[in-house]
Subunit: 200 residues, 3 copies
């Protein structure tokens, strides 16, 4: 659990950086950038908690999440140029973050006694909806509605995790497999330009 | 109650179809279309439940709603061309759906002990805000802010339902009258091009 | 408390007026204007209540807030031209409203046992996010992401209020100082064209 927690914080940090950079592209001021960073990093889990009725919203009970976002805002502000040379590293941590967000969101939903299908959905919501709210606040059509097999990777990852769990695979093994699978799916989708079909 | 429940599911199905078609017009991929379908069909009730504090959000406790949305997504994907020839039928079911959403939302709010005025508001929110969230996610000014006496019909329908209820009219009769009134108002508004005034 | 309550209602009224005028600029019909007025006036507190898990959302338990919004919608509709000559007065009441919204939001968050940092954030959310939702529904990039030291004034005000409180300054004195400080910061920011830096 401690490892998952650490990765969760790192994922939050990386999501917040990507939010701050998006806000910088839009010429938002520091406050706007801070809001977008917060929303990108914590928005998915916030929406999940509101929907499943866990209250208050999770990050309110553990200030480390706010601290991670604050550090990310500071880092974006000070090191912006340097950060943009780290795109590959960020992509990697972003993918790991998505995997961990998916698993933690799924687990939290199951813990409240909700059905596995709802849990898989809420896992993906945790990982993906921060970006949706970021795009809405930036007045853009959410990226994930048009690109990459991003959310689909989360749904697939969540399903695999539940499957492994029902096969009584050890939890840490199941986590590693799930995260690796999500990363592999994303990389493959980007590399081979996989797209989901559209409704004609 | 069973009839209302059945119509509620059909309304959910029809709302989801209209969401999927809107997403197709926007060239969203299958995932985007699924999100828009979900949000259109379940968003109004979700916002109502979050606001009145009923948790978790209603559809999480009854998978039939997700199944209705899933079927609608599949149908939109497979039969898109054919569905668009059914616009009249869809309009009819959409109107019935709105009526039923209004009544069920109103009732749920009253059951939590909130005031009748709040209940009328929440009835309309149930029926109308799925479409608002759909439009926001599609990056468009919500349609209902500019067209048709759509939401107004829900507010009027909710008020009439409460009135009939206070006159101890039988519940099923009150439901039928309310739904018919909402349908009639919508049809008349479309036919006679009724608009609400704007603030000059 | 009664004075705060009165100012809270007046602030709600003024926020609703500004929402209705924004909707009129967008040529929304009366229903659209009413939704925008509601959202502008009550949206910040609504989001705060949803996040901290206070349910139902506050205004549902006290119809005076809805009445204040209803009066504002009526006033905007009838007196639009005259209201626009009152911009200065509106600006003043808007600023007082922001101060009071901040303090009440902060207090409510503390009362639920959440940490002071969360409380300062939620104070600002109460004051500022109604405008954010208004802008999103109007399909515009939220104003506060680009202009004025508006939200920052709320964060500063909330921090000062907590500081005074920890110094056991009398509550009404702390309130007056906080509100005056928020007003002064806003006026100074507008006058001297203070901006927050952006991420280069």
């Amino acid at each position: 659990m401690t490892l998952l927690y650490g990765i969760d914080l790192i994922g939050t940090f990386v999501f917040a950086i990507s939010g701050a950079l998006a806000a910088a592209d839009k010429k938002f001021d520091l406050f706007g950038a801070a809001v977008i960073a917060l929303v990108t990093a914590l928005g998915g889990g916030t929406i999940r908690d509101v929907l499943i009725g866990s209250r208050p919203v999770g990050w309110m009970n553990d200030l480390n999440y706010l601290i991670a976002v604050g550090l990310a805002i500071g880092a974006s502000f000070v090191f912006k140029a340097r950060i943009q040379t780290l795109r590959r590293t960020l992509f990697l941590f972003d993918s790991i973050g998505i995997g961990v967000f998916t698993i933690l969101g799924l687990q939290k939903t199951l813990n409240l006694g909700l059905s596995p299908i709802i849990a898989i959905l809420m896992g993906a919501v945790s990982a993906v909806f921060g970006g949706v709210v970021r795009d809405v606040l930036c007045c853009e059509v959410p990226l994930i509605f048009r690109r990459e097999i991003y959310a689909t990777a989360c749904l697939a990852g969540g399903s695999v995790y539940l499957l492994l769990d029902s096969l009584t695979v050890r939890r840490d093994v199941a986590i590693v497999i799930t995260v690796l699978m999500i990363i592999a799916l994303r990389l493959a989708a980007v590399k081979h330009k996989w797209y989901l079909p559209t409704i004609r």
